[in-house]
């Protein structure tokens, strides 16, 4: 276990020793800020106008859900930026040899990388809490919905990190890792919408819909905590960490 922390700790220090860590925080918070600002002004506008046109007044829950949906989209940009370097940069700098020749197992390396990425992205999520915090300070949104949303986003993020690590482990080129991870994550999110075209009403459609992360996240954003959805994310994480482990371990016998 200590080897996992040694590797994770070094990686974390690496993120903050280079401008990379700071840049990730900067762009993430900037984007979140822009969207939050526009959401709030739209929300206020609608609350004023709705009675005039006889429409329904939007609730704070709608605002919270919009915020977290938006967050899940921004993560598509942030996660590849964090995971792209994890293996490909080490491969390019030859530092992966340092890990391969050390008395550590492939799974320890993979978990080390996974935890360091999770930790930095966890910090990013923590920073994003200013926006729900702002709502809590000036309104009364349902706290439990915010908490389940965060849990859902965190699980989604971990699953996306596992996917990103797998992509990164297969290339020496960071840019390729970024592109493929982003494309893969985007596909995962929109699979829900293109499923009818792929499966045409058959079992394939429901299969693709199950694979897509959107529906599973939605339950969390509604404040629902279901075993099925938590299991989906945990299986996703386990599967892709397993794939990554195979890629790294295969160096020994390929």
């Amino acid at each position: 276990m200590s080897a996992v922390f040694t590797i994770a700790f070094r990686d974390l220090k690496g993120y903050f020793a280079s401008p990379k860590g700071a840049a990730i925080f900067f762009f993430f918070l900037l984007l979140m800020g822009f969207f939050f600002n526009s959401f709030i002004s739209t929300f206020l506008e609608m609350t004023q106008r709705a009675p005039m046109f006889g429409g329904e007044v939007p609730t704070l829950e709608t605002l919270v859900r919009a915020l977290f949906y938006n967050l899940s989209f921004i993560l598509i940009l942030v996660i590849p930026a964090v995971t792209m370097s994890s293996f490909s940069e080490e491969r390019r700098n030859q530092t992966l040899r340092l890990l391969l020749k050390s008395p550590v197992t492939a799974s320890q390396i993979v978990f080390g990388k996974f935890f360091s990425s999770i930790f930095i992205l966890g910090l990013v999520l923590l920073c994003s809490a200013v926006y729900p915090g702002y709502m809590l300070a000036f309104g009364n949104p349902d706290l439990s919905v915010i908490l389940t949303s965060y849990l859902g986003i965190f699980l989604l993020m971990s699953a996306q990190v596992a996917f990103g690590l797998w992509v990164s482990s297969m290339t020496t080129n960071q840019f390729m890792a970024f592109l493929f991870t982003m494309f893969g994550l985007f596909l995962l999110l929109i699979l829900n919408w293109i499923a009818p075209n792929l499966g045409g009403g058959s079992w394939l459609e429901s299969f693709f819909k199950y694979i897509a992360s959107t529906d599973h996240l939605e339950a969390f954003l509604k404040g629902l905590l279901t075993v099925a959805d938590v299991t989906y994310f945990l299986c996703f994480i386990a599967l892709f960490l397993f794939f990554t482990n195979i890629v790294i371990d295969s160096a020994r016998w390929r």
């Binding site: 200590s2 080897a3 040694t6 590797i7 070094r10 220090k13 690496g14 020793a17 280079s18 700098n93 030859q94 530092t95 992966l96 040899r97 340092l98 890990l99 391969l100 020749k101 050390s102 008395p103 550590v104 197992t105 160096a251 020994r252 016998w253 390929r254």
Partner: protein, 307 residues
């Protein structure tokens, strides 16, 4: 200490190693000699478990590198051909990271890191970033990383690459001082380096071991009787046919220097045959300048084996 048997490895169509086998006794320094692309780095990578072999077994301190990698790697220090350095770390942090990876206990960490830094005279740069160091320093940091956990087996891939002559001398001294407690395999394409530091030499060419043994053994194996070189001031072509008729003198020929004749002595030659050769030269009025015994340098052995 190290057993390598029947190692083969191919990269697609290219066969990098063919049945490479050798053993290294405990405490020995073994030089791994080969031209660029001969298979040195591939062999070393396989020995350290960084890549797998197609067939063959590597045992480090009795542990199979593929079957019991953790045990085997514990007693292994490896300096790869391109130093595996994290540029954004400080020298002391990097070396302690490597020590932690190799399971050095927390209590001994500081002492071992300090010792490694001192041994490679890195103490004055301990707080600098690895990425800002010059190539020589970086190579030494990479070496510190390999020796910090005091491994039984050290595998060094071209350890003096990119160092200046002073540093090369320093590293050689260091390697010599590590011998005894450590078993060392070092690769090089610089012959003099191997000749000076190693107890035993393994010459690898096109993925096969072509020759192994001590320096003397290698040179001896290549010698067919001792060769002599006779340099005269004039008329070397005149006495050359005469030497050919002299019994016991083997294939005399003109060297690169047209005034020098090189010849060998057969095993049946009479003991004072050299006197006869000199008499002959003097009688012909050639004027003797030099008569030397020619020993082959490692360069020649190497050249002969790999061409």
């Amino acid at each position: 200490m190290i057993e390598v048997s029947e190692l083969s490895k191919s990269y697609g169509q290219v066969q990098a190693l063919k049945n490479v086998s050798f053993n290294v006794e405990s405490g020995q320094i073994v030089g791994f000699l080969g031209a660029n692309g001969a298979g040195k780095t591939t062999t070393m990578d396989i020995m350290c478990g960084c890549i797998g072999a197609d067939t063959g077994v590597v045992k480090i301190a009795g542990f199979d590198i593929t079957e019991e990698p953790l045990e085997a790697k514990k007693s292994l220090g490896y300096l790869p051909d391109s130093p595996p350095l994290h540029g954004e770390m400080r020298v002391k942090d990097f070396v302690s990271y490597a020590a932690l990876l190799h399971k050095v206990p927390k209590k001994q960490l500081k002492q071992k890191v300090d010792y490694a830094l001192e041994k490679l005279s890195l103490t004055e740069v301990r707080d600098r970033l690895v990425g800002n160091l010059s190539k020589g320093y970086r190579q030494r940091v990479a070496l510190a990383q390999a020796i910090v956990h005091d491994p039984k087996v050290l595998i060094l891939d071209e350890p003096t690459e990119g160092l200046d002559p002073n540093q090369i001398a320093h590293i050689r001294e260091l390697i010599r001082s590590l011998a005894g407690q450590h078993t060392i395999v070092l690769s090089s394409h610089i012959l003099s380096e191997v000749q000076n530091t190693c107890d035993r030499i393994i010459i690898i060419h096109n993925g096969t071991v072509v020759q192994q043994g001590t320096y003397q053994e290698l040179v001896h194996a290549m010698e067919s009787g001792t060769r002599y070189r006779l340099r005269v001031s004039r008329g070397s072509d005149q006495i050359l046919p005469m030497l050919k008729t002299l019994e016991g003198v083997q294939n005399p020929s003109l060297g690169a220097d047209p005034l020098a004749i090189e010849f060998g002595l057969s095993a049946q030659a009479k003991p004072d045959l050299l006197d006869d050769v000199i008499k002959l030269a003097l009688n012909q009025g050639c004027g003797i300048r030099e008569l030397t015994e020619k020993t082959k340098s490692l360069e020649e052995v190497f050249f002969k084996l790999t061409h």
